[in-house]
């Protein structure tokens, strides 16, 4: 587990107990990673170890167990910070991407004035759309929406006419959970800088695909979830620059986030604890720490190449399937291994149900991106989302199953 090792897809897959076990006696071709990824043994072991050797509340008691728990919890924060190349005290633990973005909307957002503008795009996940709609309705801000291209990318050519002096925040998906398009961050940051706006990236679909250099991106906020990146459910993070966090009011009040409480008034603790009211998701932080350590010992050049090769195979297979239409970039450039498609005349739920009979786990529906579905004029799409443990057998089963579904449903 130490030092970067050459990437061996079979060896990686063997570390996932659920994939090895399969489904009802048959193989499991798990291609629903965009919803939730599977958990490697190393992460499970780290959580079991915590629960059976160091379980206690953090930051509270002076006994040895509590010290061990605090070390594990704060150590996880540092590991996650390393994965993103940022300082540890800029990482705030939340319960997931959605709560991280809502925190920004309810804290940073409350500083906005009526008429101020937040820019999102039409392809956002509801988790990066509804919080801003709610802010609009609460504070009278204007919500502006960048269009998408025919290839399912955010149309960045619209930035100049969309971003104005009133723009306070541009909040976009780093990777679309529907089309797999990777957003080109540089022009977004450039547009924001000209007007002094902040940039938030929803990284939920990016973090499972290798370490990041957030300072290099030049953004201000980054949000993501543990359960999509081989970590536990119930945890996620918000990253932001320290001065920014220091200037923001907390969303929740309670224990651990205070300096002093009197009947009259309360002073907040320092960042990051100011934003972590109450007992945090301790074991889940420990698990996410183990997940990023696991991710960091992989050779990501090979792992990405592996993911991209399988993506190409899926795209090729869909190209040969009559009535199939990919909703997303046709090539691999600027693309993550998330592939959405329509099968003419077949409803995504029926496609998924039939594929389930082949042991293939897909997701069909609106993918919490209804505005994008409306734009493409579909009720939903079928989505195959890959992780580094997927293999050629998974792609074979997918393509075989799709042939059968097409035959049956049309």
């Amino acid at each position: 587990m130490s030092g970067a090792t050459a990437f061996d897809p079979a060896a990686v897959r063997a570390q996932f107990p659920l994939l090895m076990r399969g489904l009802d006696g048959g193989p499991l071709h798990y291609l629903d990673n965009g919803a939730t990824s599977q958990l490697p043994q190393a992460v499970l072991d780290a959580m079991i170890r915590f629960e059976t050797t160091s379980r206690a509340n953090v930051l509270r008691s002076v006994h040895r167990l509590a010290e061990a728990a605090t070390d594990a919890y704060e150590g996880a924060r540092l590991d996650i910070a390393r994965y993103l190349n940022v300082p540890g005290d800029e990482i705030i633990f939340t319960s997931g991407t959605t709560s991280a973005i809502n925190l920004v909307a309810r804290s940073f957002g409350e500083g906005m004035q009526p008429g101020d503008e937040v820019v999102v795009s039409l392809l956002e996940h509801h988790g990066n759309f509804v919080p801003w709609q709610m802010l609009r309705d609460r504070r009278g801000i204007t919500l502006k929406i960048l269009p998408v291209t025919d290839e399912g990318r955010i149309d960045l050519s619209a930035l100049t006419r969309t971003v104005t002096k009133r723009t306070k925040l541009i909040a976009l998906a780093h990777v679309s959970n529907v089309t797999g398009a990777v957003t080109d961050v540089a022009p977004v940051v450039a547009a924001a800088r000209t007007v002094g706006a902040r940039v938030l990236l929803d990284g939920a679909q990016r973090t499972p695909h290798g370490p990041l250099d957030l300072p290099g991106l030049g953004i201000d906020f980054y949000a993501f979830s543990g359960h999509k990146m081989f970590g536990p459910t119930g945890i996620g993070c918000l990253w932001a620059k320290k001065e920014l966090l220091a200037s923001m009011p907390p969303l929740m009040g309670g224990g651990e986030m205070i300096r002093t409480v009197t009947v009259e008034r309360t002073e907040w603790a320092d960042v990051p604890h100011k934003f972590e009211a109450g007992t945090p998701p301790i074991a889940q932080a420990v698990g996410l720490g183990a997940a990023v350590r696991w991710l960091m010992q992989l050779d990501w050049t090979s792992a990405s190449a592996h993911e991209m090769r399988l993506t190409q195979r899926v795209l090729d297979g869909l190209g040969r399937l009559k009535g199939a239409r990919v909703i997303g970039p046709s090539g691999l450039q600027g693309r993550a291994p998330v592939i959405s498609f329509e099968l003419a005349g077949a409803h995504p739920h029926d496609v998924c149900q039939i594929l389930d009979g082949f042991g293939v786990a897909l997701r069909g529906g609106h993918h919490c991106a209804q505005p994008l579905m409306d734009h493409f004029g579909v009720a939903g799409t079928t989505r195959a989302s890959l992780a580094l443990y997927n293999n050629d057998a998974d792609v074979d089963a997918l393509l075989t199953g799709l042939d059968a579904a097409a035959a049956k449903l049309r």
């Binding site: 409803h347 739920h349 029926d350 149900q353 009979g357 609106h366 579905m373 009720a379 939903g380 049956k408």
Partner: protein, 140 residues
């Protein structure tokens, strides 16, 4: 294998659904969504002398939802509201493991859906729309 859901009986109903399309001057018309999957049905009703005279539907949904709407259109016409509403109960029964009884015997085709909890709402959605449409028609 879960593709036993897509037996001939269901697929025939889904591909040539009875009652597909909107009615011209309905007495009641409702649209119902399934929040979790985004499926949507619009159901139109025409009543004459307290009897269902015509059913029209527009479904943006799966084969199960289509087939269920089709069974409504082919069974409810000519029924009194109470008899039509009974179909909802019969369907719940089928999903719970009972037999489908006349006049809603056609709902028996949905027996294989029983094992698939995540699909229950797909077949139930048109019946929810029917119930709301009948409630809407009542005061008129």
């Amino acid at each position: 294998m879960s593709d036993d859901l897509y037996q001939q009986a269901i697929m025939e109903r889904a591909k040539q659904p009875v009652g597909a399309g909107r009615l011209a001057a309905p007495d009641a018309s409702v649209t119902v969504d399934n929040p979790l999957c985004g499926d949507r049905i619009t159901l139109d009703l025409k009543l004459i002398d307290g009897t269902i005279a015509a059913v029209g539907h527009q479904v943006r949904g799966c084969a199960l939802c289509q087939a269920s709407a089709s069974v409504i259109a082919s069974t409810a016409v000519g029924q009194k509201p109470a008899a039509a509403l009974a179909g909802h109960e019969v369907l719940r029964g089928v999903l719970g493991g009972s037999e489908a009884s006349a006049p809603w015997a056609a709902l028996g085709i949905f027996a294989p859906v029983r094992r698939h909890k995540s699909r229950h709402d797909c077949v139930l959605l048109p019946f929810e729309a029917l119930a709301r449409a009948l409630a809407q028609a009542k005061p008129a």
